[in-house]
């Protein structure tokens, strides 16, 4: 069956089985990945997967399921199990029905590039070109992944929401190593081949790795720091995740009770745009069937909204922001508005400080307070008199999310889309400029 047939069949059968409400997202996708390391391909992978996610409600009780057996008998068996299970559940305390359709979904331009599924072995050529570019720029060893995807998802709900989205994505992440611990990273990604530039990503990774040779040990203390787009993306993914009303309630957020408050630099504006052209997470509808749009999270430093689905919006006595997640609302594409100055001008604002190209391994001491630390890597440099001077190693970013937001003092002009394998809250993409954050804490080993 096609994805539309699967979702329709499940909805019809679910209602026939006695469900009050049901929503289904049936998906079929193929994806190809080429992994590489030590200047050679280590493995190629191709996935072909079909599945259906199901939300079923009965007497204010809520169940979800994911199945890969989408045969008619398999679906009937699943629904029988769900109906048995739902009777034993407890009612949800802030139950809300699914949104009533029908809805009209406007097409999002630039989400499908028919060339991407046809790339096949050409993916290996891209990898080779990326590695060559990195090696020419100073890398000794190159590693990374190229991932291409082609997927179709059909949503149908028992309350007349119905839509299909088809999307391609391409994502190259390259890491270069030059000598000992010196490394650099580059990324290029999108939904089409339009701006895909693997050579540039390779060049950036190689150049940063070369610049990282002969790093000196960093010293613990407070620094003025310029965060590159990859490093900033990790920070803004955390803000987006913590803005989910589910996580606000569960204690995973330092944004609780801060709606309307000034939590950040007054020129910082950040929103979620589910309809971004070339957005890796773009979708015309959310998982409940609401037509998607733009949700302002922070405007001029002030926290404007949490991300909601029907359940959380009922509890908060507000409207859904079309960010379902049936249980956990989430961002689709985070966009951080660029500032007024160039990257060079941003660097020039730092008399003495640090440039951090990448952060990973974020861990929280206390989500509700926002105390955390993270590993810095892939290009960590001293800034002296507005220019990068030399590489530094061994520094751990050790600060607080709100403190960092409030200590941002400028942003570079150009925002670009970044995907990152370490997104703590799984935001598909963050479009961000470079940011300058003052008085930021860094620690080092004491023995």
């Amino acid at each position: 069956m096609e994805t539309r047939e699967i979702s329709s069949f499940i909805v019809d059968e679910g209602l026939r089985s006695g469900a009050d409400e049901i929503a289904v997202i049936a998906t079929h996708g193929t994806a190809r990945q080429v992994r590489f390391a030590n200047n050679e391909v280590t493995i190629t992978t191709t996935w072909d997967e079909t599945g259906a996610s199901i939300l079923l409600k009965k007497d204010k009780r809520i169940l979800t399921a994911y199945i890969t057996d989408v045969s008619k008998d398999g679906i009937r068996g699943t629904l029988k199990d769900l109906m048995h299970m739902v009777k034993l559940m407890k009612p949800h305390k802030s139950y809300a029905p699914l949104p009533e359709g029908p809805f009209k979904y406007q097409t999002i331009q630039g989400l499908y590039d028919e060339r991407i599924p046809k790339l096949e072995e050409k993916n290996i050529d891209y990898v080779e070109a990326t590695m060559n570019s990195a090696l020419e720029s100073g890398a000794k060893r190159v590693a990374g992944t190229l991932l291409t995807m082609d997927s179709e998802s059909s949503l149908k709900s028992s309350r007349n929401a119905e839509g299909t989205r088809r999307k391609t994505t391409i994502n190259m992440m390259v890491r270069s190593l030059a000598n000992g611990e010196s490394s650099g990273m580059g990324v290029t990604c999108g939904t089409t081949l339009k701006d895909f530039n693997p050579e540039k990503a390779g060049e950036e990774a190689g150049r940063l790795a070369k610049m990282s040779i002969d790093a000196v040990s960093g010293k613990s203390g407070k620094y003025n720091v310029v965060l590159s787009r990859s490093a900033s993306a990790i920070l803004f993914d955390i803000i987006a995740g913590m803005d989910s009303a589910f996580y606000v309630d569960s204690g995973n957020s330092c944004l609780a009770d801060k709606l309307g408050e000034k939590i950040a630099f007054e020129e910082l504006s950040m929103y979620d745009d589910a309809r971004a052209t070339q957005g890796l997470g773009s979708t015309p509808f959310d998982d409940e069937g609401y037509p998607t749009g733009k949700t302002v999270i922070i405007e001029n430093g002030r926290l404007q909204s949490y991300l909601h689905n029907s359940l959380t919006s009922k509890k908060y006595k507000t409207e859904s922001t079309a960010n379902a997640g049936w249980i956990v609302p989430h961002a689709w594409n985070i966009i951080v508005k660029g500032g007024k100055i160039t990257e060079e001008e941003l660097l020039k604002e730092v008399k003495e400080g640090l440039y951090i190209n990448n952060i990973t391994y974020v861990r929280f001491q206390d989500y509700s307070k926002g105390d955390f630390s993270a590993i810095t890597r892939d290009g960590v440099f001293k800034i002296e008199n507005g220019a990068i001077t030399r590489a530094v190693r061994g520094l751990r970013l050790s600060d607080n999310i709100i403190h960092m937001l409030q200590n941002i003092t400028n942003l570079s002009k150009e925002a670009k889309q970044v995907s990152h394998w370490w997104m703590e809250f799984g935001t598909p993409s963050v479009t961000t400029p470079l940011i300058l954050c003052r008085n930021t804490g860094f620690t080092t080993p004491t023995k």
Binding site: I43, T44, T45, T68, S250, G251, Y361, G394, T443
Partner: protein, 477 residues
Amino acid sequence: MKDLADFAVEHAMKLGAEYAEARLQSDIGNVYVVKNGNPEVAGFVRERGLGIRVLIGGGLGFVSLNQPDKDLVDTMVREAVGMAKASIKVKKKPIRLSAEKAVEERWEVKPMIPFEDVSVEEKMELLLDIDKITSSSKEVGVSVPNRLFELIESNTEKYFVNSEGTAVSSKIPRVLFFGLLTAHEKDKGTEQDTIEKGESRGWEAVKEWNLIDHARERAKTLGKILKTAAKAPKGKIDLILGNQVVGLVVHESVGHPYEADRIFGREAAQAGESFVTRDMLGKRIGTEVVTVVDDPTLKNSYGHYLYDDEGVPARRRFLMKEGVINEFLHNRETAVEMRVSSNAAARASGFDMEPIIRMANTFMLPGDYIFEEIVKDVRFGVYMKTFGEWNIDDRRYNMRFIGRECYLIEKGELKGMVRRPILEITTPSFYDSVDAVDKSLKFEAATCGKGDPMQGIPVWHGGPNVRLRNVRLGGIE
């Protein structure tokens, strides 16, 4: 679909592969979630699919599919062969696999109480009872305004077959409890704790965990920290790390850097590499009291298996023996490079993932002391019983652990609580500072992440209580 697995292997070999394997895997899992006393959702996952890996001309190709369609298997095997062949042009050295004895085996962990014999109602009631206790300030002595509890149970069945005659079938149940508690005290702020319990057993495991009592105690501890903990000391000190902290330390700083794929650079793009190099085997890195093993064969353990996802029989691995680097974790690809046999560390998180080198249950072996003895010799120090925040760099050299439940030690006695001491130390310095380990041994469950796509794998880590001499507690001055 078993026939399709056999067909896939035969078909790949006919297409010219030097080696082929297929893994049919079915995962049936149920999830229950309660947040702040509200039964948010219950749900299930029913996944079944086939992962196929081929080696041809020294290139490795992996494909997966989840529809039982012979034509699709044919297409995907051709895809694996075609892509692997195409990758050879960007290959310096052909991939080879270590020679391993072919086996035909079937193994199973039989639950005493299968999950399906316990009603959904009982499972939700358990989570709601835990919530009720932890939300009662009368019970736990502190306000715990945010509470999240999850119970995840699963049954995994696998059929592994390869072109060398190995065929292994297995069946294993697993259950995991996760809790997040956020306590608040006016003028003192918040403290958070996570609780994780996991085993490869049936519902009998959950019954033995005494989750209500356990969660009550953890919540009470948060209250004590908020109300009584003093500022943690900084500077040179003796430090005793509790079982939970030691487990995490050995997982991060022995388990991961001894993964041979990291050592060889295969994971450089994301997870990273290792400060350990292949020529460091036999080198002393810690004191003689430190021995760290990884053992998939531990019964009931969350990381339990008897054959890995390359069909190699599991055994205990002595990673660090009396302070000396003794053995790395291998799959067949890295084993052949080091001219050893695989020690069965290849694991995949699902049918759609390539098997990569993973830990199972990593722990420091206990010593002879009792806990009081290792405390007695400390004039001034800290006992870090549990941890909150931690991380380690991608070479597994520079690590940090911040304590949660911690006590001051003065003149050989445990005193009052101290808040959030920070141990930030290099791996060699850590193992060189250990001078005593006690005879206790406790484990914690975790889901270890590695790879791209990210593969979350069930593991245990554990150890005794351990004393470190002359380390420095840090943080920003």
